[in-house]
């Protein structure tokens, strides 16, 4: 199925939930409304015309100028060989889905129940960008609210490193975080 056809199937089925569809360029993608993302994701996986069985990557992006955070889901549909079971699987089509959310209070529904790959990738996107994935299977509840558990940084790390306005901490647990800090003085 061509990317254009996928686009028309999606907008026919979901209407306004498909905010934008870009078929041209190096990275064809659909922009999906956060509120209906889980529904769209299930359709993308289960509908035989779509068949996106593998989620390759989830990339969080800080769109500071637009005051938005974005999660980019790169999907690929792999199909088993027809007839004989010997041959290579075929790459039917690939598509990216972008889900955007406001920067101040970023919430996107989790799709870890649709593609288990999303579990760790969403944890990473929370850890590094602070996108909260609602309904994530590995949640933590603290003063920041209910959010996925951090994965790369320690659980008590402050802030999200891939935000464009992130300031590296002066110290973490008594360890100076910057070389210009005077090592002879105690760290606050």
């Amino acid at each position: 199925m061509s990317v254009e056809e996928i686009g028309s199937v999606l907008s026919e089925r979901f209407g306004d939930a498909i905010i934008e569809f870009v078929a041209a360029g190096l990275h064809p993608h659909a922009v999906v409304a956060a509120g209906r993302w889980h529904e769209v994701a299930t359709f993308l996986r289960d509908d035989p015309r779509m068949g996106f069985n593998m989620l390759r990557s989830v990339s969080g992006v800080d769109r500071q100028a637009q005051n938005e955070l974005e999660a980019v889901y790169d999907l690929i549909a792999m199909a088993p060989p027809e007839g004989s079971r010997e041959g290579f699987w075929a790459a039917r089509h690939a598509l990216a889905v972008k889900v955007r959310t406001e920067r101040a209070n970023p919430h996107i529904p989790s799709v870890a129940d649709v593609w288990p790959t999303a579990d760790w990738h969403e944890r990473e996107a929370y850890d590094l960008l602070g996108i909260v994935f609602d309904g994530h299977p590995d949640p933590v509840e603290d003063e920041a609210g209910r959010h996925p558990r951090r994965i790369l940084c320690p659980d008590d790390w402050q802030g999200h490193a891939l935000r464009k306005d992130y300031v590296f901490p002066e110290a973490y647990g008594g360890i100076p975080g910057r070389s210009e800090i005077d090592a002879s003085k105690p760290v606050k």
């Binding site: 190096l26 990275h27 390759r56 980019v72 290579f88 699987w89 593609w115």
Partner: protein
């Protein structure tokens, strides 16, 4: 049966245990949490697994990663694509050439750079040699995990020859930064082709030796066959790639399925997991690799054995590339400061451990506004908590080792 034997051999210690209750499963045992790692030799780096155990049984495994986190993606947002090449070396540091290759292809595709034929061919040679070198480490250390020390010495001996070849072309033995956007940093040395051919002649009989030493070793088969079985459905759902995916019987290799770079000009086969008695495809003239009894599609033995067969085919590709190595430029004329267009790209290449993907967003300047690294090990490792359930404690190194992770790329 085994319970009774234990009781007889240690009657004093277990005198107060009621053997009958034990047999009927009524005995109360305590669960225990065990920290395996982050400094455990068989976790291949700094991985911590929290195991919930009941005696020898592991009920639940929770991986904790991030001990080697260096925020490689943040660095990608503050340096130009050329400057990022050395950082890609340090992702999966056992396959630095392949990482350089994937990164260069991503940037070239984004900027529309055409690479000369000679450069592309050199890159294929390097990528496939590095695939062999990386698999050699994987095999050797997996043998160590399973208690076989000798194969490790043999695989590292062979790897030295490859590292010598790499050292000759770029001066480095681990972090090469040899393949850069536009081509490679220097032309091959005059004697490279001869030395490389000599290496291939020397190396090609070796995988059969490893089979004799390790693959068909009875103890090794007992430890790995039927252990950590992953179904094709789960493998795709968890985003497994590389040998972990192919071991489940899914014939999927980006070198064939998407034929990136110039891989479509080479003849090679891709082995997949087969049930016992199956014969894995090897290049002509090589001894056949027959799957021994007890092996199940998608188990640890299969993941291990596919790497051996892949080495045959990588050597086969290198030989073809040496035969057709064209004369010409070793890199394209690319400006020193590369301006990235206002566009984005997601590109994946087949690394020894699976698909390494880069998502790059350009913004019209020379520095990308977002670089995301999709590491194969990160995804492959995420299935561990699903697979390492209700298995024996001794199976954990067998499963984690066969998934073959490099923490530098899991943690980035």
């Amino acid at each position: 049966m085994s319970t009774r034997r234990t009781l007889q051999s240690a009657p004093d210690l277990l005198a107060d245990l009621d053997a009958e209750a034990m047999d009927q499963g009524k005995l109360q045992t305590e669960e225990m949490l065990i920290n395996m790692g982050p400094q455990h030799p068989s976790t291949h780096g700094v991985l911590r697994l929290v195991l919930r155990t009941d005696g020898e049984m592991v009920l639940e495994t929770t991986p904790h990663i991030g001990y080697l986190h260096r925020c490689a993606e943040k660095i990608g947002e503050s340096v130009a694509p050329y400057q990022y090449v050395p950082y890609t070396d340090r992702l999966d540091y056992l396959s630095a050439m392949n990482n350089n290759h994937a990164w260069s292809l991503t940037i070239e595709k984004l900027c529309g750079i055409q690479v000369p034929e000679r450069a592309s061919t050199i890159r294929i040679i390097m990528a496939e040699l590095n695939r062999i070198a990386s698999h050699l480490v994987s095999l050797g250390t997996y043998g160590l995990d399973m208690g076989a020390f000798t194969p490790f010495l043999y695989t590292f001996r062979e790897r030295e020859y490859i590292l010598d070849l790499f050292e000759a072309v770029c001066g480095a033995r681990l972090t090469y930064s040899y393949i850069t956007p536009g081509g490679v940093t220097d032309d091959l040395t005059e004697d490279f082709v001869d030395r490389c051919r000599a290496f291939l002649d020397y190396f090609v009989p070796k995988p059969a030796e490893y089979n004799q030493l390790l693959s068909y070793n009875h103890i090794f088969i007992e430890r790995t066959a039927g252990v950590g079985v992953i179904s094709p459905r789960d493998a795709i759902a968890w985003g497994l790639t590389g040998t972990c995916l192919r071991a489940t019987g899914v014939k999927w290799d980006l070198r064939k399925c998407l034929a990136y770079d110039i891989y479509d000009r080479f003849e090679f086969e891709v082995p997949v997991g087969l049930p016992e008695g199956g014969v894995m495809p090897v290049p002509p003239g090589m001894p056949p690799v027959v799957v021994p009894a007890g092996v199940v599609v998608g188990d640890s033995w299969t993941r291990y054995a596919l790497r051996i067969v892949e080495m045959y085919w990588s050597a086969h590709i290198v030989r073809q590339a040496l035969d057709r190595l064209p004369a010409g430029e070793y890199r394209a004329k690319v400006p020193r400061t590369l301006k990235l267009p206002e566009a984005e790209i997601y590109f994946e290449a087949e690394n020894p451990r699976g698909q390494l993907g880069f998502y790059v967003v350009g913004n019209g300047t020379s520095i990308p506004s977002r670089v995301k690294v999709r590491g194969p090990c990160f995804n492959n490792l995420s299935i561990v908590s699903h697979v390492c359930r209700d298995c024996l404690l001794a199976d954990i190194p067998a499963i984690v080792g066969s998934i073959d992770i490099v923490l530098g790329e899991v943690d980035r």
